[in-house]
């Protein structure tokens, strides 16, 4: 361990902007991308479930007497 304080760690020897700008961008994009992919998967699942429900509803209404 070569950091004497938390402040020194975040200062990154005066290169904080460059170091945290790099690690921060990676963290941000690698957090957002899975959320977007997850959302896309959920959206298509929801649509398909709704369509299936609508189909079943149609069928039951068709078969109902009168």
């Amino acid at each position: 361990m070569h950091w004497n304080s938390v402040g020194e760690f975040f200062a990154m020897g005066g290169r904080a902007f460059y170091v945290w700008g790099s690690f921060g961008a990676c963290a941000l994009l690698m957090a957002v991308e899975p959320i977007l992919a997850q959302r896309r998967a959920r959206a298509v699942r929801d649509t398909l479930r709704r369509e299936k429900l609508a189909d079943e509803l149609d069928r039951t209404l068709d078969r109902s007497p009168g």
């Binding site: 990676c26 992919a37 298509v44």
Partner: protein, 255 residues
């Protein structure tokens, strides 16, 4: 041999491959594998960040700014590697006309584009304090920028074609033409005089220094790799459902 038992895909390996290449089989398999890859990504990420910030010492020449290497190199490696995998699936799709191959290529493209953007971004943030400039039009940087444009072009081309199978074919041709760029990126620091340093792995200060740096880079690269697999599996599952929506197996799979 009894002729009735002979099928066109008689070899066990190809039968096995074609079995898993079928969307109804692959969809649940990908769902089961996903959490493991997320867990591995997190594990390697924690270990890699620990080494990057608390084990790897300060660089004698570059001070603390060199720590950008721990994200810059993995992002750059993955941007090239994902392109090769994407081009491979595109080629498989063209040759064997398997449905899943095109979906795999499509699922990988956004992640590859993200890695290329991160490579350029972190490289720029490293270049400013070390070279005094955000950007130079040298061979390594320019060819990596072309890689980012190839990914974006691939995504845009596929998005512009409504028919999924035709989009796969058009994308595959673009991906395969662009694959020539990957060795250009990799060897650019050897072939041309560039501002970009040579292969970082052989950077030698003292043996222990190179060792901890190498470990940090390796762990972070594994983290990025597992991440890429996990997120591509997530996306390919969405694509499978989108494209196979009309099939019976999808209706049953959503029970």
């Amino acid at each position: 041999m009894n002729p009735s038992t002979r099928t066109p895909t008689a070899h066990p390996l190809s039968r096995w491959l074609f079995h898993y290449a079928s969307p109804p089989v692959f969809y649940p398999l990908a769902g089961r594998l996903m959490p493991w890859f997320w867990a591995l990504a997190a594990l390697f990420g924690v270990a890699g960040l620990y080494v990057s910030f608390f084990v790897a010492p300060t660089d004698a020449v570059q001070g603390e700014a060199y720590r950008i290497i721990f994200v810059h190199v993995p992002a750059s490696w993955m941007s090239m590697f994902i392109y090769l995998v994407m081009a491979f699936w595109a080629a498989v799709g063209l040759v064997f006309n398997t449905r899943l191959s095109g979906m795999m290529a499509q699922a990988l493209a956004p992640t590859g584009a993200l890695m290329a953007v991160l490579s350029l971004w972190t490289g720029s943030l490293w270049g400013k304090p070390m070279w005094g400039t955000w950007w130079v039009w040298d061979a390594r940087l320019t060819s990596e920028l072309i890689l980012a444009f190839l990914y974006i072009g691939f995504i845009a081309l596929q998005a512009s074609i409504d028919d999924a199978r035709r989009a796969d074919k058009a994308g595959a041709i673009l991906a395969l033409v662009g694959v020539v760029n990957v060795p250009v990126i990799y060897f650019s620091v050897k072939w041309w005089n560039t501002l970009h340093q040579g292969a970082s792995v052989s950077m030698t200060k003292s043996p222990s220094m190179a060792q901890t740096m190498l470990w940090g880079m390796l762990l972070m690269a594994l983290c990025f790799w597992m991440y890429a697999i996990a997120v591509a599996l997530t996306r390919v599952r969405a694509i499978i459902l989108e494209r196979e929506a009309a099939t019976d197996w999808v209706k049953h799979a959503l029970e």
